[in-house]
Each structure stands twice: as C-alpha cells, then as structure tokens.
C-alpha cells in the first residue's frame, strides 16, 4: 500500500509551484509533478514583465496583489527573483492608439490600477530613452520586471524547505479513482493523493481530459528576443497601447523584447520556430519606441507557450462533476497575476471561502462536454 498524499499538484509552473508551496505551509502533504522541470515552460521563459498595463481588467486586483508579492519575494518565498520595481509607460504613437490607450487606461483605472495619462513630453521626462514620437502615454508607478529564468531556482529552494516532494521529469499519463483517492499514472509508478490540482498551462486541456472533462485551451506561441549587453538605454518598462510590445533593460544590460508576437508551435510539439517577419516587426516596434536599441545586436530569439481560454479569463476552481480535482491556470499575463491567484486558490483548498473575484473564473463555464466520472 503506497502512501496517500493530501494533494498531488500536476504542473510545476508558477501556478502549480505557488499552490504547492502554500498548501504545504497549510500543513498538507504535497507532491509537485511535472513532465519536465520546475518553471521551465512559460513561467521560466516569459519576458518577466510585472505590469498593470498589459493585464486584463478583471485581473487588476490580483495583479496588484501579485506585484507586491513579487516585490517582497525574498520575504515570503525566501529567494529573490531579480525583481526590479520601476515606472511603466504604455505608449501611443498615432491618434488611433491614443484613443485606444485612453479607453484602456480608463477601464484599468476603474479596476484599481493607478495609471495616469501623460503627454509625450512628460513621457520623455519619465523615460529619457523613449522616442520623441510619443503622443500620449499611460504612466503607472506600480510596474517592474523579474528575471523569469530564475523563477525555477527560487521556487525549488522554497519548495524543498517546505518538504514538498518535487517530482520532475515525471509525466502523468492518466488518472484512476480507487479507495476514495486518486491514482496518477506515471511511467515510474503510481502517485496516490486525496486531491489533485491541475496546473498545466497550455496542457490543462489534456489534463482535464484524464477526468473526462473537455475544456478547450487555445495555445499562443509568444516570441521573444534579447539583445547583447548594451549601455543604459532605458530604465522603465515600456509597452504600447495595443499591448503588443514589452520592453525592459535588465541591470546586466540586456534588453528583452516581447509583446506576444506569434511564432510557430503547438501543445504537442512545443515551440517550433520563430517567424522571421514577426521578429523583425517586433524589433522595429521596439526601436521605434527606444531608438537607442538600434545600436545593439540581437543575440537570441525564443518562444513560450501561453494558455488562453475561450473568454481569455482564467480557469480556477473545481473541475465540474469530478470529485476532489481542481485546476488553476490559463491566466492572461499569468506571470504578473499568477502568484496571487494561486495563493487564493490554495487558501480555498485549505478550507477558506473562495475569493469572490476568483469565483468568476469557475472552470464550469468553459466545459464543452461535462465530466463523465
């Protein structure tokens, strides 16, 4: 008779890792499984942006909370993730963009984000690196970035200290219900747990299918690029009104260029190829925003998979019709908001009432064929 854990969390990105951490701190015996390694997919390869200005309106309260969590990671996580808190600007270069920006800033302000509209001159005063072609900018003092590639190391150390059983390179192939517990099937044997948490990012669709639930998850293939180290070109986080640019310079001098321009890939094969036109377009946009970037070299481009539900809002809560299985994921700009949403989710599993804002993210709304088990 193998041990029955309290919770098995499948998927070790920041949602799964955060949930596992707080569940363990709440006294549960927890295993964290991943078919790869901790935070090596979207949570480790994203652009690290921690901004309100690319966050969906409905997620602003969680993004604000998570921003504070990232900024204080050394205290509650125990390890720094290279977080820099700085000002952020969302830029508009055309009248159309200015209109879009005004609408979006108003909506995000209403949701609680402290964003002000400033003119181009003021934007240049805030960020001297920015182009003189800016007409209007959204300015937010709650912004910043993390070093996404350090996320896995920081969480590993914290999870080990809390006694979470870290099971990397452990793909789950399915689940069985026996003697009031779930048995997760893996090539290296079965993991038994009273409850299962699915935190698989773009793979949530496959995970839900183990339990007979059909929840379609769209896969975005986000392209990113980085320059070599260069002299200081900027000190803020920059984006544009449409959300299709993210730009920041790390303390070591490299500039990461992102914004969600699409590459090639899928959930089965993973990221496949950078689309050259999209890289060129993304880099042109970056250089239009910060002209000094023209004097650098691009050394690497890569891809990360982002999950999106049918309504582009998260999937958080119980799997409908399936006993003792819940999911947390598909959070738009999830690196910014995931920490707080996953913590609320863990508190709920530990017995607290579900945060009302999160109740709106019930996975039941996304099911196209209800649970069969």
């Amino acid at each position: 008779m193998t041990t029955v854990l309290d919770v098995a969390v499948v998927g070790a990105g920041i949602n799964g890792a955060t949930a596992a951490l707080f569940l363990a701190r709440g006294g549960m015996r927890v295993a964290l499984l991943d078919r790869g390694q901790i935070c090596r997919q979207a949570s480790g390869v994203n652009a690290g942006t921690l901004t309100m200005q690319m966050t969906r309106r409905a997620l602003i309260p969680f993004a604000l909370e998570a921003h504070a969590m990232w900024a204080s990671a050394a205290e509650w996580l125990g390890h720094d993730v290279g977080v820099v808190v700085c000002d952020g600007l969302s830029l508009a270069f055309t009248d159309g963009e200015a209109q879009l920006l005004s609408e979006r800033v108003a909506a995000r302000r209403e949701a609680g984000a402290p964003i002000d509209l400033v003119d181009g001159k003021r934007a240049q005063a805030i960020e001297p690196g920015v182009s003189d072609k800016v007409l209007l900018a959204g300015h937010c003092k709650v912004d910043g970035y993390a070093n996404a590639y350090l996320t896995g190391l920081a969480f590993r150390r914290a999870l080990e200290r809390e006694g979470v059983a870290i099971m990397e390179n452990r793909p789950v192939t399915g689940a069985d219900r026996a003697q009031g517990a779930w048995a997760l099937l893996t090539p290296e044997g079965t993991i038994r747990a009273k409850r299962v948490v699915l935190a698989g990012g773009v793979w949530l669709e496959d995970m839900a299918s183990w339990f007979g639930c059909a929840i379609p998850i769209k896969v975005l293939i986000n392209q990113l690029a980085v320059t070599e180290r260069m002299p200081v070109a900027m000190r803020t986080v920059l984006g544009i009104a449409s959300g299709l640019l993210s730009l920041k310079q790390y303390p070591h001098g490299t500039v990461v260029i992102g914004g969600g321009w699409q590459g090639l890939g899928d959930r089965v094969a993973g990221p496949r190829a950078v689309i050259p036109e999209n890289l060129v377009g993304n880099v042109r946009l970056a250089c239009h925003a910060v002209p000094a970037l023209e004097r650098s070299r691009i050394v690497r481009a890569w891809l990360g998979l982002e999950a999106e539900t049918a309504d582009a809002l998260p999937a958080v809560g119980a799997l409908p019709g399936v006993e003792d299985v819940a999911m947390v994921g598909s959070i738009h700009s999830g690196y910014t908001s995931g920490l707080s949403i996953a913590r609320h989710f863990a508190r709920w599993l530990l017995g607290a009432p579900l945060h009302p804002g999160i109740a709106a993210f019930d996975p039941a709304r996304l099911v196209v064929r209800p649970g069969a088990r």
Binding site: T94, A241, L244, P276, V299
Partner: protein, 487 residues
C-alpha cells in the same frame, strides 16, 4: 521601406567551405538551381580560405597546396552555374510554412531577404574547442583555428613569441605557419604523446602527401630548436593586462593534469591554443533533425545516410558539421550531398546518380581514413575537463565559473539548459557557441553522461545580428502590428 524580398532556388547550400562549394557545384552541374550562401567574401572556408586580393601571389605555389586546392574549388564553383551570395549573413533557418522545404533568412547591407528551397545542404563546418584554464581570457590568448584565420586572411602574427598548444594537426600547421610568416614559436605544447601520433599512423598513411607535409612541419619545428613538449597541457596563462608567460604541466593520456610535478614556464607574448574541433550542427538542430552524441566524431552530430541525407527529407549535412573528418572528406561529402539533392528533386536520374556517386564513395573512404585518424587526436579528453579549476570562468561572456556550474548541479539542475537558467552561462553574445561543449562536459560528469546532460537549445539568430541591419529603414505605419490583446 526595406522589406523582406523572397526568392527561390532548388537547392540552398549554407556555408562556403569545401563541403558547401562542392555541394553547390555538384547540384548545379546535375541541373538543379543551386545557391551558395556564406558570410565571407569568397568561398574556401577555414582550410581553403582565399587570401585577400591585396595579397598578390608572388610566385606559383607561394600560398602552399591548400591555396591551390581552394582556387580550383572556387573555379569549379564559378564554372558550375551555381549562384552565390557571399558577404551575406544567414540569420534564420526554418521549415517553410505552407510549402515543402526550407526557408533561409539572410541580411546584408542591402537589407533582408528570404530564400526558399525544397532542398537545404548544411555545410557549416566546425567550431573550436578550447577547454578553460586560469588566464584563458587574457588578451593575447587565441584559438588555434583563429590563428589560422589571422595568418591566412590577414597575414597577421598573433605575437612576436607565440606559444602553440593543444592537440591535433592544427597544432603543427599553425606552428609551421607562424615560423614561415617570420614569427618566433616559443614552444609547442601537445596533449598527445609520440605513441598517440603513432597510433593514428595507419589511418594517416592513406594520404602520404599530407603525412609528408606533417612530417616536414615536425622536422621544421625541431630544426628551429623550438621546445616540443608532448603529453603536456597549459595550466595557466600568466600576465597582468596580457599574456606574458604560460605555465605547463605533464598530463595523463586522458588529459588529467599532474599537479604533483613542478610546473614549467615559457615566456611568450601570445598563446594560441585549441583542444580539437566540434561539429557545428546548430542548423540541423534548429530544424529538428535527429542527432546523436558521437565523441569520436567530435560531439553531437546529425544522423545521416551515405548520401548525407539527415532524418528530415530534403535536409542534408556535409563536411565537418556532420562529424570531424577533414577538408578532403568534406569536399567529397559535399559533392555527394549535392548529387543526392539533385536526384531527390528529380533533376538527376537514379542510375546516373549511382554512376556519379560510386567513385566519390570510394575516394571518400580513403579521405575519411585520414580525417578520422586526425580527429582521433582531437577528441575531448575527460581528464582535462576534470582538471578545470573551480574558480576558472567557463562561460567567458557571462563570467560563470566551473564552481558555479557544479553548484547548480548540486542544487538539482539535471541538464545544461537548467544550469544555464540558474547561472546565465551561455546567455552572452556567443550564446554558448564557445562554452557550450565544455559546460555539457562538466555537467555530464555529474549527471551520468553527455546524453543526459544534453546541449544548449539551438535558436535563431544563427549569429548575433546588428539590430540596425535587422530592422532596415521602415515606416511605423507599415509595421504589421497584430490586433490588440483583449482588455
């Protein structure tokens, strides 16, 4: 407004060394529209590098036998009808979306261009392995292969008193080249012993001409009274702002440094050092071909058949990039790849292909015996990897030491990409092209071998691209910005 201009060919050949030149020529002669792309201004690659036009040839044969071979390959290429794009940086390779075949994106001073072809021959050669030692980042320390570029392309000596160290035939070629160019060789420091060289003699006998040339190099070094230390390794480059001396110690057959014996010292103002060649298979890895780790071939190589076909239809790998086997073998592999591409495209009838390929295969067998014998002298020596001191930087771009890599593994990293994320090693401008093989060797010792340790994920751009060149001139209104993200 500079935009991506698209063009087509039947066969694209990446790399203008012997393999690439012969592949492009062979495919063109067989009736395929072939295009050779290389960032240099002429064909030749490293071994057959063309001297700049300014270096007028004063007498026939003044540049040696390699120059004559290179000149004849360049002539054959020009006569074949193959198109060429020299001075052109290929920065991206991908499978062509919505069409069978491949896409190669290039940039030069004229802007961006995308080439498409149903067949792609990869002839990207090798990169140099330099195992780190204290002081290896000092100015005045160069790679052995880098020294050949200095000598051939620029007639430049690395220094006035140059120590030449490492292993393999390049060691002798560079020492002889420095002496011939009027430089002083302060010493030759060879990881191999006399018996190591004798062990490869049977294979080397397949090319008596090259063997004789090597013997002449050795005789020349001896005649000049240059110290020749066998079974020794450089354990440190010494100096304040540039190298002024090196320390040496004896090594075991596997490269393990004998720290017990008193180190020797040689004064010099430059050190050229190389520990072998590593196949450059970035392109086939980006495209997803099947690879295997083959230490005798120099490292990770694309799996291929006798006609240089990789596991991906239409993708061929010729020359040292498919396993270290030397310039003569590379030329023949290139020709085979070019013929196979033409046959697979239907330009060459099956029987005609067999008739043309058969004699090439026989010659390739002989060339491979020599090339593989030399490659045997250049394999990675595990003891030398184990001897890298803890405080020595392995990743010189990001200044990551051996100890930091060991620490990442001790904390649970199990393969090189995880080590990279935790330490930044391999994240600099060279993107691990210099340190990747060493990092993998260091990690492999701790995680149970090279296959477990893996390799840094290969990504575009294939070379760092100047941003200004990548973006060209553009109007903001023409940037195809995708539709806004949801609010």
């Amino acid at each position: 407004m500079t935009e991506t201009i698209a063009s087509r060919a039947d066969v694209i050949v990446l790399g203008g060394g012997p393999a690439g030149m012969c592949a492009a020529s062979a495919a063109a002669r067989a009736g395929s529209d072939s295009l050779l792309i290389d960032e240099n201004s002429q064909g030749g690659g490293q071994v057959y590098r063309a001297p700049p036009a300014a270096f007028a040839e004063t007498s026939p044969g003044a540049f040696g036998p390699d120059h004559a071979i290179g000149a004849s390959l360049r002539l054959a290429l020009a006569d074949s009808g193959a198109r060429t794009a020299f001075g052109c940086r290929a920065w991206s390779v991908s499978r062509d979306v919505g069409g069978a075949g491949f896409r190669v994106d290039v940039c030069d001073d004229n802007g961006l261009k995308a080439w498409r072809a149903p067949a792609l021959v990869v002839a990207t050669g090798a990169t140099e392995r330099v195992l780190p030692f204290p002081g290896w980042t000092l100015p005045g320390v160069h790679g052995l292969a880098a020294a050949t570029v200095m000598l051939k392309a620029q007639k430049l000596l690395p220094g006035e008193r140059v120590a030449v160290a490492g292993c393999g035939p390049l060691l002798l070629a560079v020492a002889a080249g420095i002496a011939k160019a009027g430089g002083k060789v302060a010493g030759v420091i060879d990881l191999a012993s006399v018996s190591d060289w004798l062990r490869v003699l049977p294979g080397a006998l397949s090319r008596p001409d090259l063997l004789a040339r090597g013997a002449a190099w050795v005789a020349g070094i001896a005649a000049a009274g240059t110290p020749y230390l066998r079974r020794h390794a450089v354990t440190a480059a010494l100096g304040d702002d540039r190298v002024s001396a090196i320390a040496l110690s004896p090594v075991a057959a596997d490269g393990t440094v004998d720290r017990a014996s008193q180190p020797l010292r040689i004064d010099c103002d430059a050190l050229v050092i190389g520990h072998g060649l590593v196949p450059n298979c970035d392109v086939t890895r980006i495209l997803g071909a099947t690879h295997r780790y083959a230490p005798a071939d120099g490292g990770w190589i694309a799996v291929r058949d006798g006609d240089m076909r990789t596991s991906i239809p239409g993708l061929y790998m010729a020359g040292d990039g498919g396993g270290i086997s030397g310039a003569a073998a590379a030329a023949l592999q290139g020709e085979l790849a070019g013929l196979a591409a033409a046959r697979d495209l239907g330009a060459l009838a099956a029987q005609r292909h067999l008739d043309l390929a058969a004699p090439l295969r026989r010659r390739l067998g002989r060339a491979m015996r020599f090339g593989r014998a030399m490659a045997g002298l250049m394999v990675e020596r595990p003891g030398l990897v184990a001897s890298i001191p803890a405080e020595t930087p392995v990743c010189r771009c990001e200044d990551v030491t051996r100890a930091e890599i060991d620490q990442a593994v001790a904390e649970g990293a199990r393969e090189v990409n995880q080590v990279k994320a935790w330490t930044r090693c391999g994240m600099g401008p060279c993107q691990g092209r210099m340190c990747g093989d060493t990092v993998a060797a260091v990690v492999a010792r701790l995680v149970g071998g090279r296959s477990a340790a893996g390799a840094f994920t290969a990504r575009v751009p294939l070379r760092p691209v100047p941003t200004a060149q990548l973006i060209g001139s553009f109007d903001y209104a023409d940037i195809p910005i995708p539709r806004p993200a949801p609010l």
